[in-house]
Amino acid sequence: MLSLERWQEIFETIRKNKLRTFLTGLSVASGIFILVILLAIGQGMQNGIASEFEQDATNRISVWTGVTSESFKGLNPGRRIQLDNTDYDLAEAKNIDDLEYKSGVYSRWGQLTSYKAENGSYRVEGVRSDYQFLENATLTTGRYINQNDLDSYEKVAIIGHRVYLDLFKKKNAIGEYIEVSGVKFKVVGIYTDPGGEREENRIFIPLTTSQRVFNAGDNLRSMAFTLEKQDKFEDALAASEAFTAQLEADLKARHIISPTDERAVRINNSLENAKRFFDLMNMIKWFFWGVGICTIIAGVVGVSNIMLIIVKERTKEIGIRKAIGAQPYSIIMMILHESIFVTAIAGFLGLFFSLFVLEMVGPLIETDYIKNPSVDFGVAFTTVLILVFAGAVAGFFPAYRASSIKPIEALRDE
């Protein structure tokens, strides 16, 4: 029952008991404030970690080789294993239906590159057209490598944003020729990568051209694949693990490597790493929730405590009110109404204040691991309601007790 009369009565009481109201409100508002900030930081860390993964496709599987560490079938350890086009073709042919993107890579570090008077040293990677998606690169202008480039050994280059800034100083680059290790390449595209500057410090050229320019025959430095997307994370993980295991076994068989040799063939399954990080992220999330819920419980206890004290303090007043004809119901409602009103207002004040602080301070605390700290408004709203409800419940029992004791006993209370 929301009678205007009772509202007036409540407002009068609140206005004349400012300290009591303030303390009740403070415990609620600070509880909500802390919860929202904690959840927001948790979310920020989650966003931060998630963005760390954006630099490459999250389901990327990379393969590269090293030196054998075990003797096997009469071969000595210390043998260098070299990937080549055949390895790539075999892997592709075997999994043609499951692969989403795939590319062999032949790269060289520190290639001197110049455009007119400007020059720099960059990593040059010969790749296939799918590599754009394996790297999660986005073209700002121009195009990526296409099949025609690969088939006809075109001397075209896609340069990273950093390279573009270094060599071209923001001037037009498309159609211009840069010189890489003495060979002229035509710039056809510029890309950016969510991985940032480190990932934008590269030059991509067609794989075939790369193998020819660097006299690599059909050698590959590495291979990269992604599998077709699956609806469920678990399915995707299982599929990628199966693919990884099969690929490793095939490569080891072809290059005569011991199955237990861990150095010769290395496969990095991003999805497995991702799973580890997602698990960590979930733990962080639950931790923050745990702390937040404890904060709310502390808030509830605080509100309950204050409500108990309020009712105790008002016992005599309740006696007076009853002596002049107050119904027990009106006594309970008086206390509940005030409690609900104060906790609700304070709760929302805490909520809005915390959102305001997030908005103001959020951008200042952004680092690699905290990005865009924010909170689900629905969750915060629900928490306020829970606290209001808890305050009402906490107020109800002492109010009910006070309303049902004999007025003469309440009046005696000092």
Binding site: E5, Q8, E9, E12, T13, K16, N17, K316, E317, G319, I320, R321, K322, A323, I324, G325, A326, Q327, P328, Y329, S330, S403, S404, K406, P407, I408, L411
Partner: protein, 235 residues
């Protein structure tokens, strides 16, 4: 107006039971002004509390305005208190965070009156007790006599049939006491039934009838010649 028969009341004090009222028979008719006297522990306050439905008797009957008051639930008891009874306490029992006017208006709130009507009526009663100028003051800004007059105005605000006063002058000096009693006499003149618990002889003789209690029974119940408080004040 009030009719009680064979009223008993005892309090549990730990293992012992303290028999406070031991069979009270007593009638009050309209327009009476009665002093209930007795030394402390005689049961006079207990009797008044039972009459005011603040407390309940164990045995015996109590009729208020023809209605039997027995085993009332709190809801009905609250209605009766609000409609039939006005209380004045020794310690005033004003709500300290409400000003004089709001205190007087409170019983009307529980009668469901609209705010402007409440305030208007409350002001009327404050004028009646001579405190219209103090309407906006909080109780702790008022003197004892003023507080008691506010309490009387509050008791009158709900237009009760019976005014019950428990040692209304107990916390006041004699001049202020007489002023308060004079006010109560005026109210009685207007036809309200009034019961005053007191242990002061002079206050008792300003009523029209004195009921004397000792150890839980009425030992004397007699009409007296009322002394007007006004005369004493000006003497």
């Amino acid at each position: 107006m009030i009719e009680i028969k064979d009223l008993h009341k005892s309090y549990q004090m730990g293992a012992n039971s303290l028999h406070v009222l031991k069979g009270i028979n007593f009638e009050v008719s309209d327009g009476e002004m009665i002093a209930i006297m007795g030394s402390s522990g005689s049961g006079k306050s207990t009797l008044l509390n039972i009459l005011g439905i603040l407390d309940e008797a164990e045995k015996g009957t109590y009729h208020l305005d023809g209605k039997l008051i027995k085993n009332l639930n709190e809801k009905v008891a609250a209605q009766y208190r609000n409609k039939f009874l006005g209380f004045v306490f020794q310690s005033f029992n004003l709500i300290n965070y409400k000003n004089a006017l709001e205190n007087v208006a409170l019983p009307l709130y529980y009668q469901g009156e609209k705010r402007n009507i409440r305030m208007e009526k409350a002001m009327h009663y404050l004028e009646k007790v001579g405190l219209a100028d103090w309407a906006e003051h909080l109780p702790n800004e008022l003197s004892g006599g003023q507080k008691q007059r506010v309490a009387i105005a509050r008791a009158l605000a709900s237009d009760p049939k019976v005014l019950l006063a428990d040692e209304p002058t107990g916390a006041l000096d004699s001049t202020t006491s007489y002023e308060v009693i004079e006010l109560i006499q005026q109210i009685n003149d207007e036809g309200k039934t009034i019961l005053i618990v007191t242990h002061e002889d002079d206050i008792a003789h300003m009523c029209k009838r004195i009921v004397n209690l000792r150890d839980g029974i009425i030992i004397d119940d007699s009409q007296v010649q009322q002394i007007r408080a006004k005369k004493i004040e000006h003497a």
